[in-house]
């Protein structure tokens, strides 16, 4: 492969608002307006029929059921709860559920993001009713058996240990902890060995009871199924999610922390032949007016192959296979991160270049570059909504963040109008200069001397418990 691996599709969708997309702006909306179906229990489901291929995709967000809603002592319970929903109901054990899904060649899963739990499913149109029945049983009638809890917990603890063998992934977990600390956004979806060890199946049951509520959920179905067939199917499946007795628990997440000065963390991995870094500072919230300008600025700084970062670190110097910057956005705020990796003895040279580029970006971007960023975003947008699954995820995401379904049209229209001044303002606000968190994973004996000039480093060993 020539490029750095892109984020997994789910991640791409998470950043679709700011990431992607046609030179002339198309007249048709990017996202067709879906039909809105409200079920007896209050659950809203958006529907779009697409008969081009005999497949159907399903997506659902359950607000407040994500990792940021976890009690600190139960870090990891949101994703563990999500996983256990697929491990058996009162009528089918975990093996029967897996057998039924695999038999259809269907995919079905539940996972926890920070602000919501996400449910997804894909199948042949023929199998879709069966898939939705299984999904509804999982969501409304989970077994939460002690045996499955123990299995899943053990699997996660082992997975956390094994994750440390992959420095590229591990550095992101260390960064999340270093940046957010005790803030709810610092909860690792995986949990930690310590919090998982203390959890009981009751912790999971309590989280499920408090957090899986139809009044906080939004769903979408896109594919080869018409409304006449879908409505009764939805009523007898997702319509069974019980209306909650009381009001939803407070969902507000406190303002995100802002680093003051430099926080430097070095993780010693003695066998590493490459050093991996993540540097981050404050970003912007979902729906912020800066979204389009930020997206274009990031495209030029570190968001595409010819970006400044990739040009200096990879194309000109061959220091790395890839370097990038990206934005993560939530309702409560966001972060900007910059990341790459290089041979241990080159990490100082690499970081110096990164800091130089951050300084240079404060001076802004040229007119031709700005035009290139506009064209790139406009041209790359259409494929991001091409499949049923992408459309379904876009519907629930926009509805969840209370954006209209014309959001992408407005976003692209704004992109088309961007000038260099808008990008310069975005760089000044969003690229870290003096206040940031920097985490490096590498062979400390070799890289410690190269890092000393940046300040005082907190040091940990990769084998130490936790992140």
């Amino acid at each position: 492969m020539r490029r750095v691996r892109r984020p997994a599709p789910a991640m791409l969708l998470a950043v679709a608002l700011l990431a992607a997309a046609a030179l002339p702006l198309p007249a048709a909306p990017q996202l067709p307006v879906p039909a809105k179906i409200v079920l007896g229990n209050g659950l809203t489901v958006y529907h779009l029929r697409n008969a081009a291929v005999p497949l159907v995709s399903f997506q659902m967000f359950i607000g407040g059921a994500g990792s940021a809603a976890e009690p600190a002592a139960a870090e990891g319970v949101a994703d563990l709860t999500a996983a256990l929903l697929t491990k058996g109901t009162s009528k089918m054990d975990a093996n029967a559920v897996a057998e039924a899904l695999d038999f259809m060649g269907a995919s079905f899963g539940v996972g926890a993001a920070e602000e919501y739990a996400q449910v997804y499913g894909d199948s042949l149109a023929l199998h879709f009713p069966r898939l939705l029945e299984i999904a509804a049983a999982a969501l409304t009638d989970p077994a939460f058996s002690g045996e499955e809890f123990e299995k899943e917990r053990a699997l996660r603890i082992d997975g956390l240990k094994a994750a440390k063998d992959d420095p590229g992934s591990a550095v992101r977990l260390y960064f999340q902890k270093a940046y957010f600390g005790a803030h709810p956004m610092g909860r690792l979806a995986s949990g930690t060995e310590a919090t998982l060890a203390k959890m009981t199946v009751q912790t999971v049951k309590d989280f499920y009871r408090a957090r899986y509520r139809p009044d906080r959920a939004i769903a979408a179905v896109v594919g080869d199924i018409d409304a006449a067939a879908l409505k009764p199917l939805l009523e007898r499946t997702l319509g069974r999610l019980a209306r909650p007795a009381g009001p939803a628990p407070a969902a507000a997440i406190p303002a995100l922390p802002r680093p003051s000065g430099r926080k430097l963390v070095l993780i010693d991995k003695p066998d590493a032949t490459q050093a991996y870094f993540v540097l981050g500072g404050p970003g912007y919230a979902m729906g912020d007016g800066i979204t389009a300008a930020a997206s274009a600025m990031n495209t030029l700084f570190g968001g595409r192959f010819t970006s400044w970062l990739n040009t200096e670190l990879r194309i000109k110097r061959g220091l790395t296979y890839g370097a990038r910057s990206s934005a993560s956005n939530w309702a409560a705020g966001g972060i900007t991160t910059i990341s790459s990796y290089t041979k241990n003895d080159k990490i100082g040279e690499m970081l110096d270049i990164v800091f130089d580029l951050l300084k240079k970006a404060a001076g802004g971007f040229g007119a031709e570059e700005t035009e290139s960023a506009r064209n790139y975003i406009l041209g790359q947008f259409p494929p991001t909504l091409e499949t049923n699954g992408r459309k379904a995820a876009a519907y629930v995401r926009l509805a969840f963040y209370r954006r209209g379904f014309d959001e992408y049209d407005k976003y692209l229209a704004e992109i088309a109008r961007l000038d260099p001044a808008a990008l310069k303002a975005a760089a000044a606000r969003l690229l870290p200069r003096n206040d940031y968190v920097l985490v490096v994973v590498g062979k400390a004996a070799e890289i410690r001397p190269l890092l000393a000039k940046y300040g005082d480093w907190q040091e940990k060993k990769i084998g130490d418990a936790g992140f």
Binding site: R2, R3, A22, A162, T306
Partner: protein
């Protein structure tokens, strides 16, 4: 069980009909230029986007010691300048026009994948035609890109224990055929490729008669073909590349690999020599891989991950390659897991399929999984371009895409057992273990 089998029986005709609705053989416009370039065009106006995929019949299969990894290196150098366009110009011009690209190299072929708005079509065809007529190989750029590849190898192999073990197991199982080495190549070769050798390799394999061009999406086929004639027509063909003649000798006893390295968790891989993609045994083994390895209901997931809690994950299967490759089972053991026990469980499960094969519901499940994946792959303009090109290279005929699902459905269930008994046997096996240094075995 009967009810489930019923589901499948009903699924088949629907699929056949709808495959027709999504994409039919008649939707593909096929042309061959006088210089040997094969062109496949698929018109689809669903989104204002074009996928232009170029496939060259060159991969690690065509390499030799000292030049391992060079196919992949040329994939990188294809973006680093021609006499007409300086280093980096391809990407700069493409991104300026709203396009992006990637590329990948495998054992058998190298693919260049471009996605762009329709207005960029002529510029893209011109740039693609330019870079098959000679690359600049500017010495400084050559050295810088060597560093990029070294970083890619460190990232993908040297700092990834599973990949490091996989490379060693492959090189142990396959001793003569060039599939012996991984696509990335050995580090010492990466650090010593010579410019003249790399240029000679490029000239041998980058020619219109060794390529397939697929353009799918928001295009007018006639106008597109006129552009292709204009830019590719004048390109000269080359002498046919030398055939790969090495045949892997039969393995006549089990092999084992043991690596010791600092790690939190061990790694475990088992491989068996398998058939080529055109061999009649290929489809039965591809079917077997599903109930054996795919999904949480699969036999090996059930035993290794769920029941005995020996592993974090298990996956694998047979690869689609021109020459015989390996049937692979990757197990990610839990930290401290008993690797002997993992090997024993594997052998027990394989003994069952060698003697009893798979059950009819498992066979139906395999077909459902294969069909769903196939369909998902055809959902996008880019997916269609990729599948058509790969089929043309691997099978010598893109139209294979329109019959392969029928061929899967026609596999006799007994053939699955026979294929397991023929290939997944001890004498044909190589097992690899990576054991954390000083830690659990």
């Amino acid at each position: 069980m009967r009810k489930r089998a019923g589901l499948v029986a009903a699924a088949l005709p629907l699929l056949a009909l709808s495959l027709g609705a999504a994409l039919t053989k008649e939707d593909i416009k096929v042309h061959s230029l006088a210089n040997g370039l094969k062109v496949l065009l698929v018109e689809d106006h669903n989104i204002p986007s074009v996928a232009l995929y170029t496939f060259f019949r060159v991969g690690s299969r065509n390499e030799r010691p000292g030049l391992t990894g060079v196919s992949h290196f040329i994939e990188h150098m294809m973006f680093n300048g021609t006499p007409a366009a300086g280093p980096g110009e391809f990407d700069r011009r493409m991104e300026f026009r709203g396009g992006s690209n990637n590329a990948y190299t495998g054992d058998d072929f190298t693919a260049y994948t471009d996605w762009f708005p329709p207005a960029a079509l002529e510029a893209m065809i011109a740039m693609e035609a330019d870079r098959i007529q000679g690359l600049a190989f500017v010495p400084e750029v050559f050295e810088s890109e060597r560093g990029v590849i070294a970083s890619e190898r460190r990232l993908g192999v040297d700092n990834d224990n599973d990949a490091l073990l996989s490379e060693t197991v492959r090189a142990t199982a396959i001793m003569a055929h060039p599939y012996h080495w991984d696509v990335i190549g050995w580090m010492s070769d990466i650090l010593s490729w010579r410019r003249d050798e790399v240029m000679a390799y490029y000239r041998t394999y980058y020619a219109p008669n060794n390529a397939v061009l697929v353009v799918a999406g928001d295009i007018d086929p006639a106008a597109t073909m006129a552009l292709i004639e204009k830019y590719y027509g004048p390109v000269k063909s080359s002498p046919p590349p030398p055939p790969v003649t090495t045949v892997e000798p039969p393995q006549i006893g089990p092999k084992a690999v043991l690596m010791r390295k600092e790690a939190q968790a061990p790694s475990f891989i088992a491989v068996w020599h398998g058939p080529s993609v055109k061999d009649p045994d290929y489809l039965p083994l591809a079917v077997l891989a599903k109930p054996l390895l795919e999904g949480e209901s699969s036999r090996l997931y059930r035993r290794l991950v769920r029941d005995e809690e020996l592993a974090i994950s298990v996956f694998g299967g047979i690869q689609e390659t021109i020459d015989p490759q390996l049937f692979t089972i990757y197990v990610k053991p839990r930290p401290g897991a008993d690797l002997d026990r993992i090997e024993k469980v594997l052998e027990e499960e394989l003994a069952k399929v060698r003697t009893a094969g798979i059950t009819p519901p498992e066979f139906d499940k395999a077909l459902n999984i294969i069909r769903t994946r196939f369909y998902q792959g055809l959902q996008t303009v880019a997916g269609r371009a990729n599948q058509l090109g790969a089929a043309e290279i691997l099978y010598g005929d893109y139209a294979r895409l329109f019959t392969i699902m029928d061929d899967y459905a026609a596999v006799k269930i007994d053939r699955v057992r026979e294929a397991a008994a023929k290939y997944l046997v001890e004498a044909n096996r190589t097992v690899g273990r990576l054991v954390p240094e000083g830690g659990a075995k």
